[in-house]
Symmetry: C2
Subunit: 248 residues, 2 copies
């Protein structure tokens, strides 16, 4: 079923809701809704439910909203070395769709300095990408975004205060545990369920950087001897860690 994500000011709760302009047009042309159509809806950072279209033209749609469920708790944190701007945009959408609660963007040695000034670091642009990912996946919770421009102060001074969930993994092709040898991941370890996954830049972390992350409680893992692009590695490793978490 198609999924429509509503801004909180479009939907105060159960009852009638109006959407306008480009979004009404999207509903009509892309989601091919008509009067009587029922859609799955979610409110950004809020509940999930259904909407029935009660009227619809090119400018405006009226919806009867019924909010039915709380979104699932999000647990995982992604540490991501800033990739090329276009790739970052896509990876933000991917990460939101996968259900990361937090995305920590940072600069490491092999991150091009100019990428830190790109449009993809603009929080408004990032929000749009995150919303695309949420809409794709039928989720409502926007991941929290953090940004650190210096690697060493991040690891030494900032990470300890972030209370990153355990286990913590850093993707690293060399001297790492193959993911197929990892033990199952406990589904809830006290009050810090979930996992942390750190992904380096294309070309990888420096050995020094991996060592700093290991000191901070990360385990080096690898999904095989063939290096993958960061975008592919994120999805492959997330899939594997999520499977290990759910497998009894």
């Amino acid at each position: 079923m198609n999924f429509l994500l509503l801004e909180p000011d479009e939907c105060a709760g159960d009852g009638d809701s109006v959407i306008r302009g480009r979004r009404a047009e999207h509903l009509r042309t892309v989601l091919q809704a008509a009067v009587g159509t029922t859609l799955r809806v979610g409110v950004i950072n809020g509940q999930l439910g259904t909407a029935t279209v009660t009227s619809l033209d090119a400018n405006e749609a009226n919806l009867r909203i019924e909010l039915l469920e709380q979104p699932p708790p999000l647990r995982d944190t992604l540490l991501l070395a800033v990739p090329r701007p276009k790739v970052l945009m896509r990876m933000l959408a991917h990460a939101a769709a996968m259900g990361f609660a937090r995305i920590v963007l940072f600069r490491s040695w092999r991150v091009d300095k100019t990428w830190m000034q790109s449009r993809a670091l603009d929080t408004k642009v990032q929000r749009e990408q995150l919303l695309l990912g949420l809409e794709q996946a039928g989720r409502t919770q926007l991941p929290e975004l953090l940004r650190f421009d210096l690697f060493k102060p991040m690891v030494e001074d900032e990470l300890p205060g972030l209370d990153l969930p355990h286990p913590r993994f850093v993707a690293h092709p060399y001297a790492a545990t193959p993911t197929h040898q990892l033990a199952a991941i406990p589904t809830a370890s006290g009050n810090q369920p979930g996992f942390t996954l750190a992904i380096g830049p294309d070309g990888g972390f420096l050995p020094y950087e991996v060592d700093k992350l290991i000191e901070a409680g990360f385990h080096a893992i690898s999904c095989g001897p063939h290096a993958l692009r960061t975008e592919t590695a994120l999805a492959a490793l997330w899939g594997q860690l999520d499977l290990l978490r759910q497998r009894k």
Copy 2:
């Protein structure tokens, strides 16, 4: 270590090899090679080894090649409903990096007809994308590419002759087995090791199409209740199936 992929006519075997033009320039500026640099090399559809740069200028590089190993046997087949052209280009590179032996492109009901005429269906363009993926992953074997424009004749008449490896999976978000409940995948089942993975278009297969694939020996699997983009789903599912294959 950086990896350089050579055309067979650039490298007849062990001994000296010359590369020219844009590729010599790439070696010098992107891979930052100099005289004496040793690189990992591979010959397209051939062996892997090392190359030492013996001379290098803007137009030409001379390499001393030593071929040391056969590439690993490739086993897996990807059936991919043709996505939007830009996404297809990226997914071909991803699939080559993941080590698929064969990629079967096809049209299903929700594949836009115009996408079948796009530049991304041009075999020369596709080869470039595959080479990018191989170079990224340090692989040499080009996946075989097949294309079918009609779904029903493909499943009924063509698939039986392709001898697709078992187990066969089709990604389908509904009424499917969650991947974390799958049994371990046997590493070699007689003379047909590997697996087959079918990925539908955004919006998914029709129920009729899934039923046809199930009749053809496919199992419907899902990596969770949240639909992912085909690009994310490919990497996540490949990661999970590869892990289940390697896990003892």
